[in-house]
């Protein structure tokens, strides 16, 4: 008998390993339960303790983020972050990754990424009003890239358009570092009444637990553990773990959920995302300090013969779990029937502090919630400080033979090229409140706050090549660039959501990237009064031992008190002078110029002076609406050339950059110094005077005139050619 038990124990431990639990973690389970776990219990622990659900490798570092502020109603820890925008209104927002599923099944992986992040927002009582996405694909020449781009974009469009929320902004990069692991980060922003925010903590025992939405099937089982592991050559076999989305069901779900909330019947509510029924029931009970008992026979099922294990781990989409006030089940029934959703009361909150699951007359799980919820493993993984890269001296770089060619190389490269092929597939206008989107030529998307004079600016930013070369400066830069983009359209930056995408944290070099990037971001957040209110961490983005470039994506929102006082870079007019705000030393390390023209990716990235960012940005924002700013563009990728070219193309007017002798040509034209803005102004003298008074560096950089982009005799590129080159990359890649 002893030998048999020993064999069974070994089997369980092995199964635990297959489910992603280390031997040490399994020992903790044995200790907390005082016995061996039942199979369902093992499944529950494996998903709750997965990296994706528990944040075990990153949590101690995430605590470094500033999360509070005068506008913060709810910081990290809930389904999404909540910020006050005045007049009794709040914005609810978050960004989340769906990297691993999108690599395996791009359409559904991306679609369900959009679906999942929307649920995190409306589960808190907010109607979604805008979507954004940050995509990183591999080398355009890689055999998988085209198919991945096609599938991901179609999936985002197919889901977002059908649900009826505009996709207004985003960013897309291409780099061979993502060949084996693409990144799909989806962000959703929603509008709520500040006093009608719904949280997930179940308030007391004896309340009905109601499931509503789509039926539960076998899709996505172990999706959470898949997202917590690296890929190898057998990864195609993981296809059944990708979830399948139904945006029509999601639309019905949004309306039903908001109606249910308006009826006053909801005590607590959470969407079923990663680890579905398991994570939602555990988190709702755990946060509330109560227990929960579910009768799995009552769960609406799409397949026959589903086991308790399958039901608890299924990641079928478009499902919500609500704890209702006593006796309010009939409100739910009426609303679910109207919208044609499956629904059932599947359990009750209890006072046992345990998760109890019953199926076909058996108790298949009875575990205390504490170890699952707040006793999850927490690791302080060893990390190596990243090796600093030397500063690139522009004087040591070869001079291109043809400046025109250099400009076109940068403007036409995958990262700078127009993404029209992509965003023309997104409905950017549904809900009739979009003022600025990817098509209009502005640094951030802007939607009106419905029925008010206020506007909400939204952006997503990260420069992975900077983070690769210096995670600390790169982390700072991601936050600073988001802050600048909001500022450049005239918005007051309010708060951010972070989506950290890194490789294997068990490798000290990667853990070092994570630690330093977080520290850089945290510093920028503090100095810019830009707290982190929500976020997501995606680790193990590696294939066959090669990690992605470290990519801490920053999603941010800003407020326009009066949306009429906004700015873009599409309104530069013939005769305007161009004034460059901020200091230029000619930072070419890790720049697009260095990579695209000189085929080098080394060098320290441009340093970020947070005090200068604040001073310059506050100055520029204060000018918007004064009449001195016809158009404004912050400088980032491609430096002065990048900003001037984009302003010229959007404004449909040529730009003649003036002479300068202080710096090497490449440093002046392509340096990616931070804290800078390019302003087209009808009154340069007044602008310069105002800047001098404010102690802000400002100098004339050129004029808006003609129909070409030119610089001091170095090159003159007709707008038509500039546009042709800038628009060519994606149509060529996609065979459009």
């Amino acid at each position: 008998m002893l030998g048999y038990h020993r064999l069974m124990s070994q089997c369980l431990r092995q199964t635990a390993a297959e489910y992603g639990l280390s031997s040490a973690e399994y020992d903790v389970i044995l200790d907390r339960l005082g016995r061996e776990p039942l199979h369902v219990e093992l499944g529950v622990f494996s998903v709750m303790w997965s990296e994706h659900c528990s944040y075990k490798s990153s949590k101690i570092h995430l605590r470094k983020f500033p999360t509070k502020g005068p506008r913060v109603i709810c910081g990290p820890g809930e389904n999404a972050g909540v910020v006050d925008i005045g007049d009794g209104q709040a914005i609810v927002f978050k960004m989340e990754s769906h990297n691993h599923p999108s690599y395996i099944e791009p359409y559904q992986g991306a679609a369900t990424g959009v679906g999942g992040i929307m649920r995190d927002v409306f589960t808190m009582g907010a109607r979604p009003i805008a979507l954004l996405n940050a995509l990183r694909f591999g080398d355009p020449a890689h055999p998988k890239t085209k198919r991945l781009v096609e599938g991901v974009v179609a999936g985002i469009a197919g889901y977002g358009n059908c649900v009826g929320v505009p996709t207004v902004a985003g960013e897309t990069n291409f780099h061979r570092g993502y060949d084996g692991n693409i990144l799909v980060n989806a962000m959703c922003v929603g509008l709520a009444d500040a006093d009608k925010i719904f949280y997930s903590a179940a308030p007391s025992a004896g309340l009905p637990v109601v499931y509503f939405g789509s039926k539960t099937g076998r899709d996505g089982i172990h999706g959470a553990t898949m997202a917590s592991a690296e890929f190898d050559d057998a990864s195609d076999d993981k296809r059944p773990t990708v979830q399948v989305g139904d945006p029509f069901a999601e639309k019905l779900l949004i309306e039903a959920t908001l109606e249910l909330m308006a009826s006053g019947a909801v005590a607590a509510i959470q969407d079923m995302g990663a680890a579905g029924l398991t994570s939602s029931s555990v988190e709702m009970a755990g946060k509330g300090g109560v227990g929960i008992e579910l009768n799995l026979d009552a769960v609406p099922q799409r397949e026959t013969g589903m086991t308790a294990y399958e039901m608890m781990l299924s990641e079928s989409q478009e499902r919500m779990l609500a704890v209702l006030k006593p006796g309010r089940e009939h409100d739910g029934e009426r609303i679910f029937a109207k919208w044609g959703l499956d629904a059932a009361t599947i359990g009750w909150t209890t006072d046992t502090g345990h998760l109890v699951l019953k199926h076909k007359g058996q108790t298949v799980c009875d575990v205390p919630l504490a170890p699952l919820f707040d006793d999850a493993p927490l690791y302080d993984r060893p990390w190596d400080a990243p090796t600093p890269q030397p500063h690139i001296d522009p004087a040591g770089l070869p001079t291109p033979a043809d400046w025109s060619e250099a400009v076109l190389k940068v403007i036409g490269c995958p990262d700078m090229a127009s993404k029209r092929w992509l965003w023309e597939q997104y409905d950017r206008h549904v809900m009739a409140d979009t003022l600025e989107d990817s098509a209009t030529g502005a640094d951030a998307g802007i939607v009106r706050i419905h029925g008010t004079g206020k506007g909400l600016a939204v952006t997503s930013d990260c420069t992975p090549r900077y983070v690769q070369n210096d995670p600390f400066e790169g982390g700072k830069q991601a936050v600073a660039e988001a802050w600048r983009n909001l500022t450049a359209v005239g918005a007051d930056p309010v708060a951010i959501t972070d989506n950290l995408n890194f490789g294997n944290p068990e490798r000290p070099a990667i853990m070092g990237q994570i630690v330093k990037a977080i520290e850089g971001m945290a510093l920028a957040c503090r100095e810019l009064d830009f707290p982190v209110v929500s976020g997501n961490v995606s680790l193990y983005n590696e294939t066959n031992g090669t990690a992605i470039p470290p990519t801490p994506t920053v999603g941010a929102v800003g407020l326009l008190a009066d949306y009429d006082l906004r700015a873009d870079f599409a309104s530069a007019a013939e005769g305007d002078a161009l004034v460059l705000i901020g200091e230029t030393r000619g930072e070419l390390g890790a720049s697009l110029y260095l990579r695209e023209v000189l085929s080098r990716e080394d060098g320290a990235p441009p340093p970020v002076d947070l005090a200068a960012e604040r001073r310059n940005g506050n100055f520029v924002r204060g000018l918007i609406g004064s009449g001195l700013v016809a158009a404004v563009h912050d400088l980032s990728d491609g430096g002065l050339i990048g900003a001037a070219a984009e302003m010229a193309m959007a404004s449909d007017s040529g730009i003649a950059l003036g002479a300068q002798t202080a710096l090497a040509t490449a440093a002046w034209l392509f340096g990616e110094d931070q804290a800078r803005y390019l302003i087209a102004t009808p009154d340069a003298a007044k602008l310069l005077k105002t800047a001098a008074k404010a102690g802000v560096p400002a100098a004339i950089a050129g004029r808006v005139e003609g129909d070409a982009l030119s610089a001091d005799g170095l090159f003159a590129i007709p707008l038509t050619k500039l546009r042709r080159v800038n628009e060519a990359f994606l149509p060529n890649l996609m065979g459009a």
């Binding site: 179609a154 059908c162 945006p247 069901a249 919208w339 023309e424």
Partner: protein
């Protein structure tokens, strides 16, 4: 002045249409759930909004066309009430037989969202009288199945009878003869793929859409 906007499961431009009509004309707008069998009394206008009714299952608009409320909409159309179907609403009207032709998949096979300049081909209709001497309109399209199709005989008849109301200056989706909007023979039912409900005030980039709604109440 009274209008109704029908809401099907999956409609997502219903709120936009309500606001567009209210802001353009000052009319009172009621929302009508698809399961209702009667429309409100004394309506001047019924609007079938854009979206993805029934998730575009089967064919766009096929299932919505069978909704209980559509009998009442057909009766109202028969009585001469103005009916506008926008985008998915246009698809529903075609499926319901209230307009000729059909909307097929865009020629490029992809969803397209972009600004379009339209020729206002006929300014003598119930829906375009407010355009007056203005023969162009700027609006946006946002659809995957906006490719208008009808047989040659029908197309000739539509052109000949002045039932072609809007035409794309640059055809974004392969629509026959570049047709963006048509009326029925009686002239009181309009179907159009571009969105006047997204072009009813300058903030949105164009206010030309407001003219469509204003024409009905003129």
């Amino acid at each position: 002045m009274k209008a109704a906007v029908v809401v099907f499961p999956g409609s997502n431009c219903d709120r936009d249409c309500k606001l567009a009509v209210e802001r353009s004309t000052g009319a009172r707008v009621e929302m009508v759930w698809h399961a209702e069998t009667a429309l409100p009394d004394d309506l001047d206008l019924v609007v079938l909004p854009g979206g993805f009714s029934y998730g575009d299952y089967l064919r766009c608009g096929a299932m919505a066309a069978q909704s209980p409320v559509m009998r009442a909409v057909a009766a109202a159309a028969n009585d001469g009430v103005a009916v506008i179907g926008i985008c998915n609403g246009f698809q529903i009207l075609c499926e319901a037989g209230l307009l000729p032709g059909a909307l097929l998949r865009n020629a490029g096979l992809k969803y397209i969202c972009k600004s379009v300049t339209l020729d206002v081909v006929n300014t003598q209709t119930l829906f375009t009288s407010a355009f007056g001497e203005q023969h162009e309109a700027v609006m946006t399209v946002g659809n995957g199945e906006g490719n208008f199709f009808a047989d040659e005989f029908t197309l000739d008849r539509l052109e000949g009878e002045g039932q072609v109301v809007f035409r794309y200056q640059q055809n974004p989706n392969g629509s026959a003869r570049g047709i963006a909007g048509v009326t029925n023979a009686k002239g009181n039912v309009l179907g159009m793929m571009p969105h006047p409900d997204r072009a009813f005030e300058d903030d949105l980039g164009s206010a030309d859409g407001a003219l469509v709604f204003r024409s009905v109440f003129a």
